[in-house]
């Protein structure tokens, strides 16, 4: 048992109220209450955490300081970097080896293009792999794409781009079918009904899952399928560090950095799909993160430097339930499915204080309020504030053994530290989870830069100011497929000009004019975790 004696005492309070709480659920907030708790406590509203971007096409837009820093970085190469000898040429270059990149590569290949995937780390080691809870799709008779649309746009505070939401919800069942045919083992009843649960902000049960390895199951299947197409080349441990344009302003490839030899090289491509994921490893406002090691916002930096428009980059998603204790797993995800199955957030007095399945931003803000304003949180030995998540309720509500069967990854994670979450509650606090915004695109993944396409978390607008659970696994598949198709079509008629790095000169000049002489180079590629001496 890793809990301290003080914590074990506190757990008794949670246990004492459990039977009563089993019969009651805290009421959901009205729209006005949501607004109030968000403005008061959500990190997006902490003014000191943000500043206007000082260069580029979105100059003046506010974004977290850490993101502004990398957007205002200097390129890693100079404008006279030699592009005359590309290492190789391809039709569709997919940058990023997560779920979006893999989906894009498969569809681009099926539509007749020569496809190459380049990825900074290993193919498949991505946020997709870590998604636990599930993937949304309106495929039950009680549900419809229209209801899904309303849930998405309400969750996003009515700011989402309608065409993107339409694409998301209309493609959703098609994506599930595609995955089923690729062999993804969704949770089903013996007669083939998908086992679907609620997620925060859903009005219908439409969360499909593969135990709590939903993302891993999808990612490893997509990766396996890519590997079954030997003509899709996959190049690992090579990070894209700069896009290359031609004299017509069209995308003409990327400059890559071999992460192990430090060799820079140019790959010529008729089209580029950025599927580089998000930026949790920039640790906005010093929050811990659920994100993959490589999530440093590289795609946004590269796209911005060639003039792509950004959107919603003043809003990040803080997942309400990051592990808060023990310290070794601080910030790691405790899937929303835990609350979906019945576990309630509870304060130090053993009382509920929030409806368990508010949209994520609202739920997170309520946790922060409980700790910061009302002082009813728990504080760990490392002074981390947190609240209880009463996991033993799951087996009481759903039947003994449910946790073990439905949440094996969670159970394993806690068991490693001698905590049996089926019998004893766990401690959670919001953790940086998702970049709601990103680079702008249309419903077929075109950006304002010809030949540049997007898929996955790097894109902004689909989820507006807040994403619902289960819509990012969906997003990477829907827009991965669409980007692959669009890029394959585009390259058929593309007329490549001569590649150059004039945009790097222009960028450097603009930086000088803005008086930005800092030494930071971006993309930063990896977080700095070595000890500061």
């Amino acid at each position: 048992m890793t809990y301290t004696p003080e914590m074990l005492e506190m757990i008794k309070v949670v246990e004492a109220s459990r039977q009563r709480r089993l019969k009651e659920t805290f009421p959901a907030m009205s729209m006005e209450e949501r607004e109030r708790v968000l403005k008061g406590f959500h990190p997006d509203y902490i003014q000191e955490g943000m500043r206007p971007i000082r260069v580029g096409v979105c100059k003046g837009d506010r974004t977290p300081n850490e993101l502004a820093d990398v957007l205002e970085g200097r390129p890693l190469i100079s404008p006279d970097f030699d592009l005359s000898q590309p290492e190789f040429e391809t039709d569709v270059l997919v940058v990023g080896g997560g779920g979006a990149g893999a989906s894009a590569a498969l569809l681009a290949k099926e539509n007749g293009a020569k496809v190459t995937i380049v990825t900074k780390l290993r193919f498949g080691d991505a946020n997709t792999m870590m998604a636990q809870g599930g993937i949304q799709a309106a495929d039950r008779p009680e549900d419809s794409p229209a209801i899904h649309y309303l849930d998405v746009i309400g969750g996003g505070h009515f700011t989402n781009v309608p065409d993107l939401v339409e694409a998301l919800v209309m493609d959703a069942p098609i994506v599930i079918k595609w995955l089923e045919e690729l062999g993804v083992m969704f949770d089903k009843t013996p007669d083939g009904l998908m086992m679907e649960e609620h997620g925060g902000g859903t009005s219908r049960k439409r969360m499909h899952s593969a135990r709590d390895y939903s993302g891993a199951e999808i990612m490893r299947t997509l990766r396996d399928e890519v590997r079954n197409r030997p003509d899709i080349e996959v190049i690992e441990f090579c990070a894209a560090i700069e896009l290359v344009l031609d004299d017509q302003g069209q995308v003409a490839g990327v400059v890559l950095l071999n992460m192990e030899t430090n060799h820079y090289f140019y790959v010529k491509a008729k089209s580029v799909i950025l599927s580089t994921g998000g930026s949790g490893r920039l640790h906005y406002q010093e929050f811990p993160t659920t994100n993959h090691y490589g999530a440093t916002g590289d795609g946004i930096v590269m796209a911005y430097r060639v003039g792509a428009q950004l959107a919603f980059l003043d809003t990040m998603q803080y997942h309400p339930t990051g592990a808060a204790y023990p310290e070794q797993i601080l910030g790691l995800l405790v899937t929303e499915k835990v609350r979906g199955l019945g576990a309630q957030p509870v304060n130090v007095k053993g009382e509920q204080f929030v409806y368990p399945l508010e949209p994520r931003d609202v739920e997170s803000a309520a946790f922060i309020r409980e700790c910061r304003e009302r002082k009813l949180g728990v504080v760990t030995p490392t002074l981390q504030p947190c609240v209880w998540l009463d996991t033993p309720m799951i087996d009481l509500i759903q039947g003994p053994g449910t946790i073990e069967k439905a949440l094996p990854a969670m159970v394993r994670q806690y068991k490693r530290f001698d905590i049996d979450m089926a019998k004893i509650p766990i401690l959670v606090y919001p953790t940086l989870h998702y970049q709601n915004g990103g680079v702008q695109m249309d419903a077929n993944c075109h950006t304002n830069v010809p030949g540049l396409f997007l898929a996955g978390e790097v894109a902004g607008g689909i989820h507006g100011r807040n994403r619902l659970m289960g819509n990012s696994l969906l997003d990477v598949c829907v827009f991965g497929r669409r980007a692959g198709l669009s890029a394959a079509e585009y390259q058929k008629t593309a007329k490549p000009g001569s590649p150059n790095l004039e945009h790097v000169s222009t960028w450097n000049r603009e930086m000088d004019e803005a008086g930005l002489n800092g030494a930071l180079q971006s993309p930063v590629l990896l977080p700095k975790y070595t000890r500061q001496s």
């Binding site: 089903k188 993959h292 070794q328």
Partner: protein, 227 residues
């Protein structure tokens, strides 16, 4: 961190470093000054990039774990072995039959398994690898799929196997065969896909997209939440 300042000795690539006792192997290496490129991935126990073999001084036994999930111990010898791929066959999943012979044809080495259980001992997920290999040799695809479901494909089983089996690649073949062919088909899913492709929902979506924020809010508030 103050009260956890107790330092313990570990040996990374043969060199001694004194690191805080509360750190995971991964964080201990970073604390010692390593910037990791290989042997690091999701840092949450899902991607299999950081599988680790280690020993403790004076103890001949080999231990296995994920560097992101395993806390350091005194006198631990660490030498990260980067992931290397096991043998993997290419196949067209749409042209396979979900029968025992498919496993044997695609992975003939399957029948060389000695049943020694070294794989099970090496698995950082504590899966019964030997058990699912036995099921594979019986041709029980469903059992392989279920028993191997929590596999993160880190490759430690294959790295340790004296018979040079690619256990985790055999397992994903079985899971895909099960998911595509043996799991019950989802009729309601097919029906919804047909409806969407027939344009059944197009008008409703066009109308929703045309609504202003106030009208959307009204509809949103009026939603019935399924119990």
């Amino acid at each position: 961190m103050a009260e956890r300042a107790e330092l313990i000795p570990v040996y990374i690539m043969g060199k001694r470093y004194d690191v805080p006792a509360s750190l995971t192997i991964m964080k201990a290496m970073e604390w010692a000054g390593y910037t990791l490129v290989r042997g690091v991935g999701c840092r949450g126990g899902f991607c299999g990039a950081c599988s680790t073999v280690y020993r403790i001084k004076e103890d001949p036994k080999l231990y296995f774990g994920l560097a992101c999930q395993t806390v350091v111990k005194p006198e631990m010898y660490l030498g990260q072995i980067p992931f290397f791929p096991a043998a993997r066959a290419s196949y067209d999943i749409t042209r396979l039959e979900p029968v025992a012979s498919t496993l044997f044809q695609i992975y003939p080495e399957l029948l060389r398994c000695l049943g020694c259980g070294t794989c099970t001992k090496a698995c950082p997920q504590e899966l019964n690898v030997k058990g699912y290999m036995a099921a594979a040799m019986r041709g029980d695809i469903e059992a392989v799929a279920n028993m191997s479901f929590d596999c993160i494909m880190c490759g430690l089983c294959a790295a340790r196997c004296p018979a040079e089996e690619p256990q985790y690649n055999i397992a994903i073949l079985a899971r895909r065969l099960y998911g595509r062919y043996l799991a019950p088909r989802s009729e309601h899913l097919q029906q919804r896909v047909d409806e969407i492709q027939a344009g059944h929902y197009n008008n409703e979506l066009v109308e929703l997209k045309s609504l202003d924020v106030e009208a959307l809010k009204t509809q949103y508030k009026a939603r019935q939440i399924e119990a």
